[in-house]
Assembly symmetry: C2
Homo-oligomer: 310 residues x 2
């Protein structure tokens, strides 16, 4: 069985690192990730450069990434304007932020949940206005789906209601994000099961954090209920998982090891993925990178899924 | 549903730390763990003090721990002589090492797998010779059950055959240990399913390592196939999981958080468990301790299983 690992480091990771990675270094890293077999990369965020100077080169990064054969290029856009720019640059998919917590939505987007969904609707209309064949995918990963550091509990019924409204709005893929590192495997199974029952083939990926060490445990739970796309960031970049405010993304290297060891084919070559890690490090010298598998090494018994391990 | 967390720090952890924790500090730590609701602790190893000076006070530690009401006191004994001493000191259960890898068995015990099983048989005979009511439990966690750094692949059929011979020998509880941090969730499900089918109620716990970041993912898999006992070490002591030769025990605090969040009742109070961590640190000043949950803190939404979360 194939599983899609969607690399979010160049966007989610780099926007959390204080200094900006030079544009050429981004090209190199994205190229190395693609060469390792990563088939989908979230490469940039289309927000004003004043807010996120690390993403000032978003259009250039998307344009360059879009030249890589076989790679699906994702860009984050918080609004219609950003989506227009992302599409103009050649992004294959636009991912938009919608939160299931009013408090988080206000803090993160300066608008409420309803207004965020309205913005998504405008981007869907933009997509539909484009000629068939040149329409980008529109994705949403619902933030704080498993709880919110501001609001606390996020009712599961509300998360599912938001998903339903997004499906009605015409979003192609609706995933769930554990923005705060609050999720547990029982909750992951429950929510993705409900999501799949409601939106069927529009069920998107799991964006899980390792803030409390539960990231891969939650991946196992999501696999059980049919999730086939997982976000991760190389080296876990996006801040130390121990630091307050850290993103705590699950580490791509550890995720790919998990999946391949279990017999899920990711299409990713572990040796080349570790080589891409060196390219990342060269682009951000001195920045801490994480990962158990890179530190401990592969087991003697490791065989990639395509080689027939299970 | 109840899950037993079996704390192995005072034995497995402390024997991997170079300096010896003072005996009084061991008493304090074990007391604090028990006060947090930990119902089973592996407190010592009965090996010659020349080999493991950290365990020179094994008898005294067992005697003191056995005074704690409701606590099951485990001791490791590599042979009959060690088992006699452990039982004399008042251990409720004796756990014995048997490896599924000949190479590891020779390296670790200086005897082969057959000879290790013979030694277990002698301890079972000793148990049976004692008056009913004073018979200790005899446990084995089969080492390198998921692969060996020396031998590489460990055939699953061989692991299961060893388990069968141990059951025939009269061992009360037969678990599986991922000594090398090689296990993946698919393998964990497969092997524990076979173990349970073969030995039924004698199926013991899972001793999983986090060397490659897969520890809690493997716990989720083991829970799926009916495993109800998990080893862990407070603060993950037993060496840095990144260092070569590290034990990489899963961290008790992170495990308890996982289980309680999922709705499994461990009987353990998280706040008191974190207090015990401070007692550990005081007993081994300067020694690194690990754990994502202690570093990140509990989520706002956390409710222990007994409070009705799921």
């Amino acid at each position: 069985m194939q599983i899609l690992v969607s690399e979010v480091g160049p966007r989610d990771g780099l926007q959390s690192v204080k200094r900006a990675m030079p544009t050429q270094a981004k090209h190199d890293w994205i190229g190395a990730l693609a060469a390792a077999g990563i088939r989908e990369i979230e490469v940039a965020s289309f927000v004003p450069a004043k807010l996120l100077p690390q993403m000032a080169d978003a259009a250039e990064v998307v344009r360059e990434a879009a030249k890589i054969p076989g790679l699906t290029v994702l860009a984050l856009a918080p609004n219609l304007r950003g989506a227009q720019d992302a599409i103009a640059a050649g992004a294959h998919k636009v991912t938009m932020p919608v939160s299931a917590s009013e408090a988080h939505s206000q803090a993160n987007l300066r608008k409420g949940v309803d207004a965020a969904i309205d913005e998504v609707r405008r981007v869907v209309e933009l997509r539909d206005s484009l000629p068939a064949g040149s329409r980008p995918g529109v994705e949403v990963g619902i933030s704080t789906a498993f709880g919110c550091t501001l609001q606390g509990e996020v009712p599961e019924d509300f998360v599912i209601a938001v998903a339903g409204r997004l499906a009605e709005a015409g979003v192609d893929s609706i995933g769930l994000s554990d923005t705060t590192g609050y999720a547990n495997p029982a909750q992951v199974r429950r929510l993705f099961r409900r999501l799949g029952a409601l939106v069927g083939h529009r069920m998107g990926g799991a964006h899980l954090h390792n803030t409390r060490g539960q990231g891969l445990a939650n991946v196992v739970a999501a696999l059980d209920v049919g999730v086939t796309t997982f976000d991760a960031s190389q080296g876990g970049i996006g801040g130390c998982p121990y630091a307050p405010g850290a993103s705590g993304n699950i580490v791509t290297e550890d995720l790919v090891f998990l999946l391949e060891s279990m017999g899920f084919d990711t299409g990713i070559d572990m040796a080349k993925l570790l080589a891409a890690r060196e390219v990342l490090k060269a682009g951000l010298p001195g920045e801490p990178v994480y990962g158990h598998v890179p530190d401990a090494g592969l087991p003697k018994t490791f065989r990639p899924a395509a080689a027939g391990a299970a």
